[in-house]
């Protein structure tokens, strides 16, 4: 029996195993919902979800009041149903969409349980989730653009940090947010140029260059912050925050309006880039070439594609996007830079990109999980959770470990990811 046939057989078996594992995971989620959020809850307790936001333009609607116990059992049944189908037949290419749905059902059951006998603003929480997810998603796009061409970008953190710094600096000095954002992108791109030269020209280990660039940006922004921003706070570190944009008409839709159409500019940018990158990467000749370079640079080279040039362009594009993500932290959120203000979110983006299987939509989905955890922090005081909030905050990181370990099913990185290419 030839190796290829054996490998095919093994592949099919792995696929079946993975299908069953995912199905069993759904069933476990169903059990968890019933056990933790349904059982032990008195039948009459209710959760009060506020669906209006004080600042929004949406048409007011009544609040959603749900019975906690019945909701949990209902959602558990839905998860169990999906899990059974997954085990028996499998959802095929929709498996990941169903996974997202199951996670969503779990989160809703958790919220209903945590908000029992009290009320919580569901719309506010979802709006916050989307805003917090925006920079993480953009960071994941940055990693994606680089890695699809075969260069690992661990410097996202540094690019974000320097993007945040220069956006605040230029935004404050000129009073023009657009110039600030452009400056942030430019500086992210400059760091990317260094990464590209070291990785592509000097063939240095890409993870190491990335980490060292992160430390470089941390040191440089900290130094320049003390040197320029502390003494000249009023002129160099007080930028105007980009105001939210209200889309006329659509923002009047209840629930969806405030979440999607009355939002931070960065949320719109995220959605636009998501569509753009998806189409460019999977439905254009440019994208095909990029993916060829990331999967099999030798073959791409033979076919006449300039491997080094493609990688340079993609790494720099990634840097621009990471710089844009960084500018969110100053111009999109607080208007001021502080030392190490990204606090590791670039690394979270990297994890989101991997968990999302190197796809734009997957990266967005994984970022939503972290964004939700981030947004949840603001609501912990009104929620009714018996375990320490620190364990809740830990949850997304533990979940990422499980995803990366393939418990839920693992995607494959581009084959030449991180491997330097030497033309022969």
């Amino acid at each position: 029996m030839s190796t290829a046939v054996r490998a095919l057989g093994a592949g099919a078996r792995v696929a079946v195993d993975r299908r069953r594992t995912l199905g069993i995971f759904f069933l476990l989620v169903a059990g968890a919902i019933a056990a933790f959020f349904g059982y032990n809850v008195p039948g009459q307790s209710q959760a009060h979800f506020v669906l209006n936001l004080a600042s929004s333009h949406a048409i007011p609607i009544p609040d959603l009041v749900v019975p906690v116990r019945a909701t949990a059992f209902g959602l558990a049944a839905a998860c169990a149903f999906l899990g059974t189908i997954q085990v028996v037949r499998g959802f095929g290419r929709w498996a990941y969409a169903v996974l997202a749905l199951v996670i969503g059902l779990f989160v809703f059951a958790f919220l209903a349980w945590a908000a029992r006998n009290s009320s919580v603003s569901l719309v506010g929480m979802l709006q916050g989730t989307l805003v917090r997810a925006a920079p993480l998603t953009l960071g994941a796009f940055s990693g994606l653009l680089c890695e699809r061409a075969g260069v690992i970008n661990v410097a996202i953190e540094g690019q974000m940090l320097i993007g945040a710094f220069s956006a605040a600096l230029v935004g404050s000095a000129t009073g023009n947010a657009l110039l600030g954002i452009l400056a942030g992108m430019l500086c992210g791109g400059l760091i990317a140029v260094i990464l590209a030269v070291f990785a592509i020209r000097y063939l240095v280990d890409q993870v190491i260059v990335g980490i060292v660039l992160d430390l470089f940006c941390l040191g440089l922004t900290g130094f320049l912050y003390d040197r320029l921003m502390v003494p000249f706070q009023a002129t160099l570190n007080s930028a105007a925050v980009v105001p939210p944009v209200t889309i006329p008409g659509l923002s009047r839709i209840p629930v969806l309006g405030p979440i999607l159409f009355d939002q931070n500019v960065y949320v719109y940018l995220m959605f636009v880039l998501m569509g753009l990158i998806y189409v460019a990467l999977f439905h254009t000749r440019w994208g095909l070439r990029v993916r060829a370079v990331g999967e099999h640079p030798r073959a791409a080279d033979t076919a006449g594609i300039d491997v080094a040039r493609t990688r340079y362009i993609n790494v720099i594009l990634g840097g621009l996007v990471a710089g844009l993500a960084g500018s969110y932290f100053t111009l999109g959120a607080v208007g001021q830079f502080t030392k190490n203000m990204t606090s590791g979110r670039g690394f979270i983006s990297l994890a989101a990109m991997i968990s999302g299987g190197w796809t734009p939509v997957g990266g967005f989905g994984a970022s939503l999980v972290f964004g939700f955890a981030d947004a949840l922090q603001n609501f912990l005081s009104v929620l009714n959770v018996p375990i320490s909030s620190y364990f809740l905050l830990m949850a997304p990181y533990l979940a990422t470990i499980l995803v990366v370990a393939g418990v839920v099913g693992r995607a494959r990185p581009p084959a030449a990811d991180g491997k330097p290419y030497v033309k022969q």
């Binding site: 000097y202 240095v204 941390l218 900290g222 994890a351 991997i354 620190y390 370990a405 030449a416």
Partner: protein
């Protein structure tokens, strides 16, 4: 491990053979040229950082003429780097005056800068060794931060909750606790990598956050929190668990430095004088060949990650038992990441790690003095360190800048490219 599609096996073997021959015939020249590259990288880093110092000074930018600007720039740079040097080693004339004063305490104070350098270097030795050990086995332990925190928490816990033992028992017990819990924090990613192929870079970063939140959790429990305090700070460790120091002479230097050197020797012995160390290096060099030769690659990965975590845990124990004496959030302050730079500059060699840790420790200690004297922010040291590593990692770049002849075998080790399929 996936195959490399872009390299023909024949060429691979020829390149490998050439590498071996090169390393056998030119070991001496390799050491000297690597020292030369480090020195030149350091000079280049200082020059580039000087540019940052100058251009960020408003007095230079607003100077009326070029001569004044140059003068101010020179004062900026010479003041900063002078402060760095005296902060790390001491000012020669002051040192001589203090030593000849005849009073023991005054004479001891001459060694204050050196003591600060050693205090800053000791934890860097531990985290540097942790990362270097991982490099040797082909692993990139980027989660030193979490392991430092976990080790420090455990060492502190033993230090303040166990009472009535002598220092000969309690101190080793606290250190052991730090080592073991650090090991646990390395064991988890090691096991996941060996069993599922999950890349250690991601899992260790995630475990960093878990450790940070665990610290906040514990520091808010009655088990850890200092009575009468509402902020997250632990009880003070018993004097029996403290690393002995020269506090009587007003110096902060403590026995952790001796421990660091001893551990560096132990790691050297482990890597080059034991079967386990050979297996580490074999797996790091070529996991496929090692597997074919009968080495349990999975076991080696688990043991190497665990030991690496344990070494980082000792760095945490060193900080808590030797410097802070109580646990606070963020006590690690980037030690795990600094270990990466130390290991890279030390080229994954325990002797090199100790030397690199002393260099960076000196920069840290000097930076505090520099900021106090010239108000140049301490963060410039991090810029210098990162630049040194970048130039050392790309020797071809340094050779191009200084027009040196090409020498093989210098540069940062390459660790597991890709995310591991």
């Amino acid at each position: 491990m996936s195959e490399k599609p872009d390299q023909k096996p024949g060429r691979n073997r020829a390149a490998a053979a050439r590498d071996v021959i090169q390393s056998v015939i030119a070991p001496q020249s390799s050491i000297w040229s690597s020292v030369l590259v480090v020195v030149l990288a350091f000079v280049t880093a200082l020059v580039v950082s000087a540019v940052f110092i100058v251009v960020s000074d408003p007095n230079v930018i607003q100077a009326p003429d070029l001569l004044t600007a140059l003068n101010v720039a020179w004062q900026d740079v010479s003041g900063a780097y002078g402060g760095l040097l005296t902060g790390a080693l001491g000012d020669p004339s002051t040192v001589i005056a203090k030593l000849s004063s005849g009073d023991a305490k005054v004479a001891a104070s001459a060694f204050y800068p050196l003591s600060e350098t050693v205090v800053a270097a000791a934890p860097l030795v531990f985290t540097g060794l942790a990362v270097a050990l991982g490099f040797r086995a082909g692993l990139f332990n980027i989660g030193g931060e979490g392991q430092v925190i976990a080790g420090g928490l455990a060492a502190g816990f033993v230090g303040f909750s166990v009472h009535g033992l002598t220092g000969f028992v309690e101190l080793p017990l606290a250190l052991l606790a730090g080592f073991l819990v650090g090991m646990l924090w390395g064991f988890i990613p090691g096991l996941l990598k060996a069993r599922t192929g999950a890349h250690e870079v991601i899992t260790t970063i995630m475990l960093n956050y878990v450790a940070i939140y665990l610290t906040y959790y514990f520091l808010n429990t009655t088990l850890f929190q200092r009575p009468g305090r509402t902020d997250p700070i632990s009880k003070v460790v018993d004097s029996a668990a403290m690393l002995p120091s020269l506090a009587a002479l007003n110096l902060r230097v403590h026995a952790g430095a001796l421990l660091a050197v001893a551990v560096a020797v132990a790691v050297y012995f482990l890597l080059w004088r034991t079967t386990l160390g050979f297996e580490f290096r074999a797996v790091g060099a070529n996991p496929d060949a090692s597997r074919a030769a009968g080495i349990g690659v999975g076991r080696v990965i688990v043991v190497a990650m665990s030991l690496s975590g344990g070494l980082a845990g000792l760095a945490g124990a060193n900080i808590i038992l030797g410097v802070q004496y109580s646990v606070t959030p963020g006590f690690s302050s980037g030690l795990g990441f600094d270990g990466i730079t130390v290991a890279l500059l030390g080229r994954g060699n325990p002797v090199g790690v100790v030397a690199a840790a002393l260099l960076f420790g000196g920069l840290r200690a000097g930076a505090v003095q520099m900021q106090a004297a010239t108000s140049t922010p301490v963060d410039i040291v991090q810029v210098i360190e990162a630049l040194v590593i970048m130039f050392v990692a790309a020797p071809a770049l340094i050779r191009a800048i200084f027009r040196l002849r090409a020498v093989r075998g210098i540069g940062a080790p390459t660790v597991s490219p890709g995310w591991g399929g």
